[in-house]
């Protein structure tokens, strides 16, 4: 009897599934009617999440709709160059573009992007039943305007975490040597002094043991904006300097003009970061975010601040990483008081990065692109994407069994992101990130090479930022 009931229930479930699945699958076919054979072109940075969208989601979308997706995954600077030129010139080469969290304010100011909320309201037949903005994490709010209308569908969101070599930190011989030298237990750094001490210890350890091991990674490319970003978005906040050191009301950067870019805290942060180069591998001064991840994956650094999108592959992909199963994840070290400020919402401890795909006004295939954006925004595709790119944009993804399984292998990275994510923050809502970055970058680079002292460099950078903001007409 029990078997009969069980069989009947299974049959009923199968029938229900059979009857609902075609309807579910049919939405894409129905919605894409008349658009089969259309090709949509998009551009994004070549990152693990983007490559997953290109290699897995693109072909799956084509199979479901008949719409082809040509996906250009390129370097970060080339991506912006191409996307901005296309949107400015209104050429319509791209039907969807990557919008990083910090550039959305510039794009909205220039009215480059299609209002997705409005577009879906105007085209109800294109509205997927499986696309629901309320299912996203609060990261989606970055891509809304004042009215709450959506301009980008988040495709990645992650935090820049403190990675350390768990195997080394737990090695009894190393622990003993560390305690003998410093009188304290070896553990992930909670503040900058501890971080420096650990960096110094492992650099010496590497030297004395003939290993290619250094104490820390530093994202200090001496001719690439990545170094500026590490300083203003990841290091400054841990010293209590927020919003790039620029006052969000007056748009002043220097202390004299109400900013904090050359404040004592900013100078201390910069000096600490520059001094870390002595404990970093030689490639540090040519390292962008990609090389930092590669350095850590190659087992050349004992600790470092690494973009979370790389955490999964570093910790689990033996084809690319030599430290599989040896990775520990923790919050970045901070100065006293900063954690309290972050907990209260008055500050933050690091960078909550990510991006979305949006549709430029210049697109010639807006309807097809609208379908694509909803396709990648479905809850059903999120879990595997999270495994491939350690990114989470939907609340439910955290509870997915696959993600929870992976979470154990990545030392609780996903749990950390879920629980401690609010301590991190994206870039301030400035419409001039690129312009200020380019104004201050030369001085940051010169400090990396030793041509300028860190405090001199920040004084010059603050003056240059003030001048640039005045020139752009933002300074009040």
């Amino acid at each position: 009897m029990y078997h009969f009931k069980s069989l009947a229930a299974s049959t009923l479930t199968a029938m229900l599934l059979a009857s609902t699945s075609p309807a579910f699958a049919d939405f894409w076919t129905d919605a894409a009617k008349g658009m089969e054979g259309t090709t949509i072109r998009g551009i994004s940075e070549s990152t693990p999440p983007s490559n997953y969208a290109k290699d897995v989601l693109g072909p799956a979308f084509t199979k479901a709709t008949g719409i082809k997706v040509e996906f250009e995954a390129t370097s970060w600077d080339q991506m912006y160059d191409k996307a901005i030129k296309d949107m400015e010139a209104n050429t319509g080469i791209y039907d969807f573009v990557y919008i990083e969290q910090d550039i959305i304010y510039s794009y909205l100011a220039r009215n480059f992007l299609v209002d997705l909320t409005q577009a879906l309201n105007e085209n109800p037949s294109l509205k997927s039943p499986d696309f629901d903005p309320s299912k996203f994490t609060s990261f989606i709010d970055n891509f809304k305007n004042d009215k709450g209308d959506l301009f980008g569908v988040p495709m990645e969101a992650f935090i820049k975490v403190y990675l350390y070599r768990k195997d080394l930190f737990e090695d009894p011989k190393i622990k003993e040597a560390y305690k003998a030298k410093y009188g304290t237990d070896l553990a992930p750094a909670k503040d900058h002094k501890e971080y420096r001490q650990i960096a110094e210890f492992f650099t010496e350890w590497g030297k004395s043991n003939g290993e290619e091991l250094w104490g820390t990674t530093v994202q200090a490319a001496s001719g690439h904006p990545a170094s500026v970003y590490e300083l203003v978005e990841s290091v400054f906040p841990t010293f209590g300097v927020y919003n790039w050191g620029i006052d969000t009301k007056t748009y002043g950067a220097s202390v004299d003009n109400g900013g904090r870019l050359n404040s004592p805290e900013a100078k201390a942060a910069f000096a600490w970061w520059i001094d870390n180069l002595a404990y970093a591998p030689p490639e540090a001064t040519s390292s962008t975010w990609d090389e930092v991840a590669a350095t850590f994956a190659a087992g050349r650094a004992a600790q470092g601040l690494v973009y979370g999108e790389n955490a999964a592959w570093i910790a689990t992909d033996a084809n690319k990483s030599t430290v599989v199963g040896k990775v520990g994840v923790a919050l970045p070290p901070v100065e006293p008081g900063v954690m309290d400020e972050a907990s209260s919402g008055a500050g933050y401890i690091g960078y909550y990065d990510g991006g979305a795909f949006g549709i430029p006004h210049s697109s010639k295939n807006k309807k097809a692109a609208l379908l694509w954006l909803q396709y990648i925004g479905q809850e059903a595709v999120q879990a595997d994407w999270a495994l491939a790119g350690s990114r989470i944009t939907h609340k439910a993804t955290y509870d997915n069994p696959k993600v929870q399984e992976q979470d154990k292998k990545v030392d609780g990275y996903y749990t950390l992101m879920r629980e401690k994510g609010p301590l991190f923050r994206g870039a301030p809502p400035f419409p001039f990130h690129n312009q200020v970055r380019e104004a201050i970058a030369p001085f940051i680079y010169q400090a990396i090479t030793g041509e300028l002292k860190p405090d001199e460099a920040l004084d010059k950078a603050a003056a240059a930022a003030d001048a640039e903001l005045k020139n752009l007409g933002y300074r009040k």
Partner: protein, 293 residues
């Protein structure tokens, strides 16, 4: 009269293309150079700014430094290429075993795209991965890191340029050497001139037009170098290799300061023309004056 019209008719397509792709963009840059136009400014519209951009340039330390750096780069690169190219051309004038093979290998860099040259040199020199820093450190204990030491970066870009473009100089001078008349050399030998006297009083004056043309071409190329250096160093470390082309690129694209970038382009073009004219006057006009005397 009729033949003139037919001539203009045949020339028309070329002139039209030149006008569209040469003159129009130049005029466009000229106009933008007198405007304030940054698409991410509080006012993103193009506004007439008079000569303000040009006034700013005079006081812009970064622009002036880039300009100075470019001149220094052009000087070291072009002089090295001419000297090396001359000796290689002389070498190829003689017969030696494997000459054909060596000449082919030597010419290969010329056919490589600049961006690929930059990528190749980057792979060779990148710290922590490239064989050059590795072996220099291992064999000589020399810390070679072009992302950290500004002089190393500067001279690496010079060496890369020399490696890429010396074959062009060699081929040009080889062609010139091959076409020199034999008589003056035979007469000089009969008169008992030594090798240096032959070089100084006969070879060099006869080669002057070819050398001058090569210097012009290479100098103009060196002044506008972008892609190789962008790939190798990105303009760093610091501002060590931020040559004027790269500087303008950064102002125009990442910074989107179109007005100011256009003014920089115009000034750079003007300076290039002036320098070429001065070089021409120095090398050719002086000779003409001597002839008149």
């Amino acid at each position: 009269m009729r033949s003139n019209s037919v001539g203009w008719l045949f020339l028309a397509p070329t002139l039209l293309i030149l006008f569209i792709f040469g003159v129009v963009p130049f005029l466009y840059v000229l106009v933008i150079g007198f405007t304030q136009w940054n698409s991410f400014a509080a006012n993103p519209d193009m506004q007439f700014a008079g000569v303000e951009n040009f006034r700013r340039l005079v006081f812009d330390d970064q622009f002036l430094y880039s300009l100075w750096l470019t001149l220094k780069f052009a000087f070291f690169a072009v002089v090295s290429e001419i000297v090396l190219g001359y000796f290689l051309a002389q070498l190829f004038m003689r017969d030696f075993p494997g000459k054909g093979f060596f000449r082919t290998i030597h010419t290969l860099p010329l056919v490589i795209a600049p961006i690929a040259v930059g990528a190749t040199w980057r792979l060779l020199t990148v710290p922590g991965l490239g064989p050059l820093p590795y072996y220099l450190n291992r064999w000589f204990g020399y810390d070679f890191n072009i992302s950290r030491y500004i002089d190393q970066a500067f001279f690496t870009t010079v060496v890369m340029d020399v490696w890429h473009w010396t074959p062009l100089v060699t081929l040009t001078l080889l062609a010139a050497l091959s076409s020199l008349p034999k008589e003056p050399f035979e007469q000089a030998q009969i008169d008992g001139a030594n090798r240096f006297q032959i070089f100084w009083h006969i070879t060099l004056p006869l080669l002057k037009p070819a050398i001058l043309a090569t210097v012009f071409i290479r100098m103009m190329d060196a002044l506008r170098t972008v892609d190789e250096v962008w790939m190798l160093t990105g303009g760093g470390p610091g501002a060590a290799t931020r040559y004027i082309g790269l500087h303008i690129w950064r102002v125009v694209f990442p910074k989107t300061d179109y007005g100011y970038g256009s003014a920089m382009s115009l000034i750079t073009l003007y300076l290039t023309i002036v320098m070429c004219w001065m070089l021409y006057a120095g090398l050719v006009a002086r000779r003409e004056l001597k002839r008149v005397d």
